[in-house]
Symmetry: D2
Subunit: 401 residues, 4 copies
């Protein structure tokens, strides 16, 4: 069956030429990101359990997690959590298959605890955090086994959105958080917490980064240490940015700090995340599946994390449209920007979206007819191989936030 | 102090001329919308309580609510909820002021129960739903009293986004849900449930609406009744659309129904919301503050509902930018489309955003210099009177989802 | 099969002749009693639901309820609850029968809310109390349908205990709480709360009652009113006691009140129960099934409330042994006191206890051989008709606390 | 001030001469006992925290814990928990002292997890059990600091009860559970689970023990292994009993097993406790503070575990009366049995009970006047040194269940 693929020539000022651009990334220790991470970790663990026990991924959606912030008393050199963070894992899972009961909640609990342990090493799971779980079963008609001998049917009428390539600002914002955590923290400043929020603003050729980073008290001796760390981080960030842009970049870390007034007014944590003190979190409120929040770009509201990777459009089409967009950009010449939107119709095969829309901003003077036909091939090919997304999710090859 | 207002000429195919457009609205009985509504109802009740007892709105953010779906057995003529929906109200609130304890959780509970009673009349709060509550206190530096003698300081570095005017499709989608519930249900088809999701797709001049509407079993006698109701609804929707567009409109209601196979496969509910059976919900996952999800438009990820209306940028700037956009369109000639983005900096006065960006797509041949200066006045004026947003929220004059 | 009934002559100072006697009753609004009442109300509602839908009572045990106290600010003339009481209904229930799902949690929720509404009228269920529910299914071998064509098998190896007759002190203590609530409160002092604890001490012929009674603020205008109410209550109690004893009786109400120091130090409540402020509660921690705590008498630790009335020994044998004891006393002459203990063996028919032990303190000079044979008949007859206990429970004819 | 100590000559058939005697012990892995243990572990940890941080034990009562059973699939050689056990720690604690916040809930959580880890080694805390926590603050007048320069005032009008010496049956029942776990399990049969319930019945000189013991699947290879283990356990128990009695003893382990019908019908667990599958638990429902349930002896309903050891009568007087009874028996000649009851009055010093009643059954021909005066000395001396109980509790020298 021929797919409804629409490649449109979009006449639009390309993002790099727009005067103002805003990009945000919530780091992996932000309460919303922790929720995303938990939701996805639980789904992956369930996928594995279902495959191990039943030979196929069964229906589930664990794309809801509520984090209720705790209370803490951070201090240089230490501090302590006063009231544990409360986390409620929520979702749907198949609990029984062919007469066998599946330990969905036990698997979810274990996966969640392991995820936190690996992601927020400053969190003492024995006293700082309670992880609770309420997984229900789904509506009956959705509990059918997903089988692999046919293309799954869409679970809902919804859509996914993706774009490529990343603008300079998008690259800067994304990599700032990633590198602070995976490079600078590991090599030099253990006091960097996982709760890093990067807000990037570009006004013409000036980029300003506002970075909010909860430092970990036990690794920061005193105020001097704290101030030095911020200076090193700033330097690191500015240096890093030069890899992605020639524009002017400025950076402010923890802009709300009031150093003169004493310790209370700097962003210090016990665990590395502000969930310890007043910041609640939930799934799907932060980064889109490409890792960013980009108000100047098309976005989907669907939470990608935690949804089942078999037939949940809110997951598959978000991941897929981003892959498609990247492949269009790399495979098709003369494309400046591409936005992909995929819309499903409930009950129809997921490789047959109601519409697969690509809006292409071509480079000046490009041959749009050629672009269209090449882009169509890329898109059609991905739809033909849509279950590859499922496989990549299960293998953990795709980030969801 | 002069405000950083940037009005930019955006060269972009106006939305009505783009080939493909997608718009979605989750009705007030969708689990995500119920969460939004609860969050906002709790915030409004707290505002009232704080004003009554303390003379000013105190710090709070109740923008987190987790709905864990129940189980139900819907049937024509009745049905019953088998496992109650579990709802957890989450957030921060000031519990003590000047030695007086504030009954924040009791107020929240009452407001939430009242909201559900008024919004989902088919929900029997005695047996169908559990409402639980975990409100904590905020981080200490945020617990200061909000005073009205100065402009509040931004709680965070974040942004709000708005656009105007609504496209034809946006109007159709928005009003379809609104009118089905406030008009057709009241006058003629009581079986229409509150959980209506409208997905609109425009391909050039063809609009197709996919409507998902949970019917209420007690008001639907049998399958014939159900089918007739769907037909009447379809007719109503198509007729309604002609008020907003001359384009061709088609509509499908409950596309996944399989009538031949019997009752199990139509979208019947006991209470009017799918939260009774398998659909979890949480705040900020659905409609933006203008009531829509619009992937072709700039959007913010911030949940507007439940945040305090004094200094929470995620609420104020979303509401404000939408108001600004609407006023720019109505006050300034020759504007085809305008997108507003407002970015705050933590700790700075909220009437002084880091940037207030307006991207204007003018009509062909418009005088952009004039547009710019007039738009700047509108924007500056709104910022000058930013606390008006607070007042409108408290009075319930602004919808948040 | 002959039953193992042992009637023993117990040589013991009868209770009325012991020098010291202690008796306690926790009134129906005491947090432990509310838990008991909720547990039993839920069980009764489930019994009714099972009978209506399945024609027989199915397996369940809802003998666990945890009340987590709230916070309140009582005051003369009013007051308010600051933090709602949290109540968690816990237990096991059959959720599915013959392919039909049973709404066990919805039924439990409704029964619990109705119970509180009827029992603690000062509790505003819209804002003062959260009722949550976690009912699980039982272990598989216990989920069998209870059928009525044979005697049920004991669910466990456990025992029930009862005694008769009530001593004078027992009568005084029991009726003090009952009459204050059902007579004095209704006729004259609406400020009497449901949370009344009566502690009775007899030293030879002196009885002293220490009564703790949470008064309801909205019905008590001021301190004078409060003091007057206490005086009237004292007078009433002393007068009431003369119906049950000729001994000297003294009574102190709210002994911890410190009137000179102001309002904080009297026992005032908003709702009528101390669960609103600091007193948690749970099932089986208060009165035994005869309504009293009697350390000088044999007692069982089994919580009677909430257990299924078909085969749960912890319920049936406690209720049965009390009925047996009362019948022995009324049917057999010359019995001063009788203590009954019934011990089951898991898996054996409940009318065949491992032992049915009656320890009889005969009156002086009694013919014990006659007592033995007559008592045996009473006991054997009750065992023969043991399912009558089930019927009485279902009809609500037997109190459980 | 002279204390109101009453030593009474009780004319009663001594327990060993009564025809029927019933004694029960719920082992440390029984769901009710786990609740008791958690409650006490939390209280001890809070005592330590308060002493460390504030120099004195502050007000708390954590004598409520609700265990909601999970689901499991035990099997020989392994098995798994399907749905985690949910445990809610409940109680009151001082959260703030002298401007310092105390991490009461974090301390409680840590203590609870550590307790389970040490007590039920087969429980995998990463996936088999959720520990949640709701500690509130107490009523304001109780939040005063406990100071050590005067005798604390009783928190309530309530009583404690104790007796000595243990009868033969009491010794047998108590030690059966203790030795199976601390000796036989360690030396020879690792498959013995912690959930052991021993019910002892004595009819004249015949003792029968009904033992219910959840075996741990991973340590039991198959049905033969299981049957052999039960035989070894029976032999061990019978041998052990000879240390405490010359009476005839018989023992049945897991009387409900049905071996012919296959594996489902033996008492196998994954973790060692039936809380994994259908058995809920809560504090104060099992053993009294002497470790036993003894319907033929005076008992208190007060839960000893979890209450603060400073002024909570329900804890102190239960522990104290048992110590007193044991000392009377060891220090005073010719005492066959002694029952102690201590009754407090709210607000009075705890060393001045309203009455301290000792009922003594002397040996035949004993000089009761001598017994009385010697017993009074023992009792008075303990009251004089009542805070020693507090110290012993804090040091962990006194069991509470």
């Amino acid at each position: 069956m021929i797919r409804n693929i629409k490649v449109e020539h979009l006449h639009e000022t390309p993002i790099e030429k727009q005067e103002t651009e805003l990009v945000e990334r919530k780091g992996i220790g932000h309460p919303d990101s922790i929720s995303d991470g938990l939701a996805e970790a639980v789904s992956r663990a369930l996928c594995k359990e279902y495959i191990d026990k039943c030979g196929a991924i069964l229906h589930h959606n664990t794309d809801e997690t509520q984090i209720v912030a705790g209370r803490s008393r951070p201090e240089f050199g230490g501090g302590e959590v006063l009231k544990p963070i409360y986390t409620l894992l929520v979702g749907r899972a198949t609990m029984e298959f062919d007469g066998m009961e599946i330990p969905a909640e036990a698997v979810a609990l274990q996966a969640a605890r392991e995820y936190v342990r690996n992601t927020i090493p400053g969190m003492d799971l024995e006293r700082d955090m309670i992880i609770d779980c309420k997984l229900g079963t789904g509506s009956s008609d959705l509990r059918d086994v997903f089988t692999r001998d046919h293309i799954p049917m869409a679970n809902d009428t919804s859509f996914g959105v993706g774009h490529a390539p990343f603008s300079e600002l998008e690259q800067v914002v994304y990599n700032t958080e990633r590198q602070l955590l995976t490079d600078l923290k590991k090599k030099k400043i253990p006091g960097i917490g996982e709760d890093i929020k990067v807000m990037g603003l570009r006004e013409n050729d000036d980029i300003s980064l506002t970075i909010c980073c909860g430092m970990v008290g036990r690794h920061v001796d005193d105020m001097d240490h704290y101030i030095n760390a911020k200076e090193e981080m700033t330097e690191y960030v500015l240096d890093l940015a030069t890899k992605y842009t020639d524009r002017t970049v400025s950076a402010r870390i923890n802009a709300a700090d009031k150093v003169d007034d004493g310790c209370d007014c700097v962003f210090l944590t016990v665990t590395g995340t502000s969930a310890e003190m007043g910041d609640d979190g939930s799934v799907g409120r932060g980064n889109r599946s490409n890792g960013l929040i980009t108000p100047s770009r098309p976005m989907s509201m669907e939470a990608t994390s935690g949804k089942n990777p078999i037939n949940h459009i809110g997951k598959i089409y978000n991941l897929l449209s981003t892959q498609m967009a990247r492949d269009v950009v790399s495979a098709v010449d003369e494309v400046s920007d591409v936005h992909i939107k995929l819309l499903s119709q409930i009950g129809m095969p997921i490789d047959q979206p109601l519409v697969a829309s690509a809006q292409v901003i071509p480079e000046d003077g490009a041959n749009f007819a050629a672009i269209r036909s090449e882009a169509e091939v890329v898109i059609d090919d991905w739809l033909e191989n849509i279950t590859k997304i499922t496989d990549m999710v299960v293998k953990g090859e795709l980030d969801t936030f």
